[in-house]
Amino acid sequence: MDKRVEKKKLDLGSRYLALTQDLQWTTSYQPMDKVFPYARYEGIRVHDWSQWQDPFKMTLDVWWRQQSDKERRLYAVLDAFAQNNGQIGVSDARYVNAVKLMLQVFSPLKYALHRALAHSARNLPGDALRIATQIQASEQLRHAQQTVHAASVYNKYFNGMHEVPRWYEQAWYLAPVKSFADDLASAGPFELMVAISFGFETLLSDTLFVPFMSAAAHNGDLSMVPAGFSSQSDTTRHKQAGITLVKFLLQQDSLNIATVQRWVDKWFWRSFRLMPMVAMLQDYMVPKRVGSWKESWDTYVEAPVEALFAELAAYGLKKPAGWQAACAAKDHLSHQAWNAFYGYGHALAFHTWVPGNDELEWLDRKYPNSFDRWYRPRLSYYAQCEAAGKRFHNHALPMQCQVCQQPMIFTEPGDGRWIAYRETQHEDESFHFCSDQCQTIFANEPDKYVQAQLASHAILQTSGSETTENALQASIADLGVVIGRDNGEFHGSEDDTNFTLWGGGQDMKEAQL
């Protein structure tokens, strides 16, 4: 055969297949069950792995080229931002608290996804999926690291960012995030793929990385925004992988359907319970507004998820069990979250405040059904206390949901009056939940969730005291959070006075004139 004919360039699809498939072999010196020890215990049945392909058909050469292109741009912007004191160009120093939350919540979360995905990426027995998962694992590390880099310059000038790893591990208000991450990491390779790619990224990640980032851009954050947009372009691939993976599992064997449905139900809700922070970022923490949380939910969650599940119905998958409850919460979520964080403001590692009058009007316009009725009176009261020199603090240790570990601040779906309580007896012990969904998640795997180390309880076990008055704040102080400097009221804080001293926000104000 003449090997000297000129070779035709392979098309995208053939090239992807040639480079991706058939690297793996059926081992014979070691049993396949030992090479892939976690492939079976979750009960997922896959008959033909070649049926799953990466919709983006990514190969490493293309990936390196694209990603380096993104990174060069991003880090050029970060360098310029740092060199030009970009941190004083943001709209208002209150905005920096959004950066703090990004660093406290999303860098550790992305890191957790990175390691959990590495676990899947080693153990899924199909070449193509494993490779896509490895790329995803790598990109989650990218997102964790670039969030740190984007926040790095802010940390030099503002408080509330200087020791995130400890806070993430132990701070009571970050426990919902850590418990989510630990829940993922303790799952098998299939479940966590459905959890991350589908539950979290497909259903919910846009709300943070698209509308919130756009709002952050509007507030002059030229550090976190390019990082956020850039990371979401990776996530777009992960979402496509998640959707195709779920379809693949449903098609491979009808016995997979019930398991996948249970995972989708669980992880939609687990992910949804991280949304209070995202919701309040958008409605309360960006001084110059673009759109509301509710609008984001409509555009980036409700519409695409309805469309997606209309399609998935043909595969036997129903909308997540908590879907109605989640949609019903859109009028309340951000307000309940900010109300809670404001009250616990002395025991956080960022600042809180009462929105200004024009902001209250904006909230009223955006939430005609709920804001004035339920939430504005609380904010007015806080403002009144503050004016009288007695800022309101909620000193109580919060009761937490056994599953999501959020403080029990959520009202019954669609209602603003009654806090939702759910209780289950398990082996002579009472367990409490914030919602039907968390209760169901517990019922499905009680032996997992009884292990939860609820922060309020842990604080009582270590302090051993009968007085709980300052226990919450003391628990935060133990983690190196400087009371009053890293937290508490924004107005009059060091961040506030420094920013004014530096002439911060002037560019924005001038631009507005």
């Binding site: 699809g13 698209v210 209309a310």
Partner: protein, 89 residues
């Protein structure tokens, strides 16, 4: 009928992509917000390599669009010539 959408970082590189999409998808709606340009279309949206190449006057590889891509919704089908988003129901 549901919308698919695609969003790019709003910058000079995205401009020809948006123009190409608008040219190839008569029903597309373009929405600008800070830093972001989002394009919605009922049920299906196609990005064609040829159209982009005509606009920018050079060869273009559709995989390049990921550089400025922020997000999308719909099922993706990609080959050398077209990047198609659609719902199938």
């Amino acid at each position: 009928m549901s919308n698919v959408f695609i969003a790019f970082q709003a910058n000079e590189e995205s401009r020809p992509l948006v123009d190409a999409i608008v040219a190839d998808n008569p029903e597309a709606q373009v929405v600008y917000s800070p830093g972001l340009v989002k394009i919605d279309a009922p049920n299906r949206l196609v990005v064609k390599r040829e159209t982009i190449e005509e606009i920018i006057g050079r060869k273009y590889d559709l995989q390049e669009l990921q550089i400025n891509l922020v997000t999308l919704s719909g099922n993706l089908d990609e080959d050398d010539d077209e990047f198609v988003l659609s719902w199938k129901h």
